[in-house]
Amino acid sequence: MWLTRPLQERSTRIFLGVLFAALAIVSVLHVFMPQDSALYVSAYTVTLLGKYLCYALLAVAVDLVWGYLGILSLGHGAFFALGGYAMGMYLMRQIGDRGVYGDPILPDFMVFLNWQELPWYWLGFDMAWFAFIMVLLAPGLLALVFGFLAFRSRVTGVYLSIITQALTFALMLAFFRNEMGFGGNNGLTDFKDILGFDLRTDATRLGLFIATGIALAIGYVICRGIVTSKLGRVSVACRDAEARTRFLGYRVERVQLFVFVVSAMLAGVAGALYVPQVGIINPSEFSPLFSIEIVVWVALGGRATLYGAVIGAILVNYGKTVFTGIMPDAWLFALGGLFVLVTVFLPKGIAGLLFKPGKSRDASNTPSAQEAAA
């Protein structure tokens, strides 16, 4: 079966092994080490690592469409944020009457705006199962509609990149509006608990961290399963020579649509896990800058490798944490420089440095080689 095949691969086993080992070590150090020990991992660090893992899952989703389908999406932040908003809405409803205004149904910002009842699209979000389905459905549906329109009319290359950027920009403007009913500028925040567990306790934070790790593992296996399946080969063919694949009789737009929707759903899950750990979701997640940043994580780690995306996401975000801590002004220089250096000097990313090209089947088939030949 396509999902179990990756588990027999050496690379997937190594990846999963490292990931689970890291999860276990962090958990053990957090729970069993005394607080004053040098090896103790604080709850803050656990949450920070959990955030990195969310970004890693998001990067894997982007790598799936960019690395294996050749679509440079500059709007994946939108899917991430939609998943996050779905989760945020559930968490808002969980607050109940513990909000500032004590309204049992309406979230604080609605009371503040003098709304009388819940808008229809907020109904059902008090139930966890419904919210979790929406985490997948909201980004999935958007990707389905958008992808259907775009791929059917064969919008490709930079055009597609630009309109994905326009998509997330339009959504950002929309979510900034108070009338939308998603908290406007401030977004959704002040969450209390998830599935009955208090979000402020260390145990819940550790649980979320582990859940994110497991989600990343599952996401990785799903992506790996897709790219090693026949569908995955067709999608690589689309990436390298779309017209030829179409002439060979494949329905290119269906392959593109399927992979795009799966990727959007994974991004949504990443967003949903991100929100309870960070404690807020606001329209800035829709900003074009964030979406394009994700792409650079993937580029740094190494395109079309999946594990490279994970490495890139964690490295860049660790760098961001360090930089913004010691010299905040320098961060944009560093990020900008990273964009330039990676694209000019490191086209295969860190993964390309670690493993010599030619050994892996994917690496020998990079689009740059193809385009240079074309």
Binding site: V158, S161, A166, L167, A170, F176, L338, F339, T343
Partner: protein, 534 residues
Amino acid sequence: MSTSKLLGRALFACFLLWAGDLLAQTEDAEAHQLLTVLAESSSTQKKAAVLQIAGSGDVRSRGWLESFANNKLGRIESSGQFIIVLENRGRNWTVESALTGENLGEISRRDIDTVRVNNALRNELEGILSVIDLKSPEEHSRLTAARALKGSVDGTLAERLPELMNDEKSDAVRAALTEALAIYKVEEQGDVAAVATLSGSLNSEARAALQQAMRSDDAALVAAATEAMASIEQKLTLNRAAETLYFGLSLGSVLVLAAIGLAITFGVMGVINMAHGELMMLGAYTTWGMQQLMPGQPGLALILSIPAGFLVAALAGVAIERTVIQHLKGRPLETLLATFGVSLILQQLVRTVISPLNRTVITPDWMSGSVMINEALSLTLNRLYVIGFALVVFAGLMLIMRKTRLGLEVRAVTQNRAMARSMGIKATKVDILTFALGSGVAGLAGVALSQITNVGPNLGQAYIIDSFMVVVFGGVGNLWGTLLAGMALGTINQLLEPWAGAVLAKILVLVFIILFIQKRPRGLFPQKGRAAEG
């Protein structure tokens, strides 16, 4: 020259001086007499004194009466000299002579005897003052006064207006007076005949008068007023449409300026330059820098910034091309990422080196203000200049593309790079020159933007997505497409704004373009030719 002659001349000169002085003295004596009457007459007789001053024809009379109405006309107790108070805060007041206008410095307020005015008289003074203005020899000041009268005519003035209108030579002033009188008649007397005069007027006071008439009990008046109102509404709608179109074209020309450079580089090199917005920002900062270098001459600095902004941005563009883009030939998506990195660096550079805050760019006098077409429609000058500038830049680029060797080569490379190279065109050179041209135009856009928006590190980001939309909408490599797309998007945005709000209008435009791209993936004017499918 003999001594006697010299003496004669000197005597004659003395006589002239004396005569002139005497004339001024008699005039001042008269003026002094007028003011003394005003100051010393009882409050019931003051009106007669005022009318005498108003009728004296003295050029200074307006200033006297105005300061009299504001309690600023006074007399120095010790000398009896009439003064006008300039500054009446504190113990000592700054005053000037009412007769000569000479500044007399500060005088203790105890020494000043203010000429008192009562409320009834003050109200009448307004009308009297406007009559003085209406008698002014300058047509411009008569017109201003006549326009100001609309809605503020009172009974006494209404009686005098017909006589003034008879004496009036200018048609424009007479029309304004007729309208002012008609507003008074409709408002105060419910005059049906006067309603017809107001029909088609764009003045807000006239509308208020008609609305009041529509609420009256007189059926004939209501009918006439309703009819007049309908014709006004129709005219107003037309004017609003013209205004929306103007705003649309002005926004559109900004978009065209921002997008046209992008269209050139994208068309020729297939390169998305995400740093294009930051090149615009450099142009805007160049304007600011020029104005800092030339304090006190914002206009000259602005004109000089046009070539300077072009040069700065073009040089930065060449630097970007040489250091980054040339290494990424044939990898458009990577180029997009790398230039985005450049844009982040440029933004942060400006933040660190200059300031994260917005800079103030001065708008020169000849660019501020507005042209009044009629009372409901006035066009701001700076936007008018930007529209003109955009059209000039567009025409210039068209000329370069159509009439020069460079343009020919650029078009050849755009259509088929490989074929152009095999015909002996140096594609690398064309790349550099095109990139310099496109970036320079971005700099020009920045110079124009500095006049209508804030100059800050985020200036480029605000326009980059919009300019991409214009390029994508218009079709790559087609300047006419860019012009049409920019103007269309600007106008659509402005049309949607009144009923959707600014943000929603923008969202709708973005959604519209996303849908449009589905229908026509290569824009309004797709490139033709065999290479187009590339």
